[in-house]
Symmetry: C2
Subunit: 137 residues, 2 copies
Amino acid sequence: MTDALSILKRNHLSNTDSRRAILEIFLQSDNALAHNDIEKITGERFDRVTVYRTLQTFIDKGIVHTIPTADNATRYALCRENCTEGHHHDDHVHFICEVCGKTTCLDNTHIPAVKLPRGYDATQINMIVNGICPDCR
Amino acid sequence: MTDALSILKRNHLSNTDSRRAILEIFLQSDNALAHNDIEKITGERFDRVTVYRTLQTFIDKGIVHTIPTADNATRYALCRENCTEGHHHDDHVHFICEVCGKTTCLDNTHIPAVKLPRGYDATQINMIVNGICPDCR
DNA sequence: GTAACTGCAAAATATTTGCATCCTT
DNA sequence: AAGGATGCAAATATTTTGCAGTTAC
């Protein structure tokens, strides 16, 4: 199940307004969201601090992941795959549109293998593609 | 030439203490630096604002580039390749060590090609590998 | 000499922490 | 009832902007 309540239950999180609301936002959005985006949508409903703490909780549980961006704005997206606490399997490519600014998880585009120099051990790989999305061409 | 002065001249930038000093730091460092790292090294010699502006100038000229990181701390590294104003050819992999925290440009490890879904046009690709570096094993 | 660069002050923005209160289970 | 979650206040961190004084060329 991918409704907010199920996600909370599955992760042993209590069912609070802010958690449900923020999860709904992620479920209804097809792109990654910055803290600021979430605040704009929720308006005055929740304290800014609550949003920060809720996002951190979701990260800890492996419900959302952050996407590294060069512009230094932390963006969060739902983990669509089988992430569990402490273990992300986040092997898809992220696309950032230079026109509309949207960050999209290309869930079906997997990160190709890369051969690292001797001595380097990878635990996680991120691939961020900047460019122009289909909507902005 | 890869000394600080040559880099400044080549990019038509005036030769000031802060620019020379900050470039030296990059030239002597084999890993990427956060604004904070630079401030620690330069100490009280330059105003924090000057460091911000100097870094921005270098980015504009294509002398340094920023590296996207999941921890949301902007890191800067020298462009080793033929970056020109507005055009980065930054196709190497970046490695972030989970133990020592150092960010290294793997200049010789190129980013493998990736096939994007129809409609997506890439202008720049970043690949960030997290793991353990040779020094920390 | 002039345009560009720097330092200082301050504003704007982003994030974290402590604590008292409230809510979920 | 008890532990965890929230809201508020405030501390801390980060980045930007305006302006006056200084420096490179």
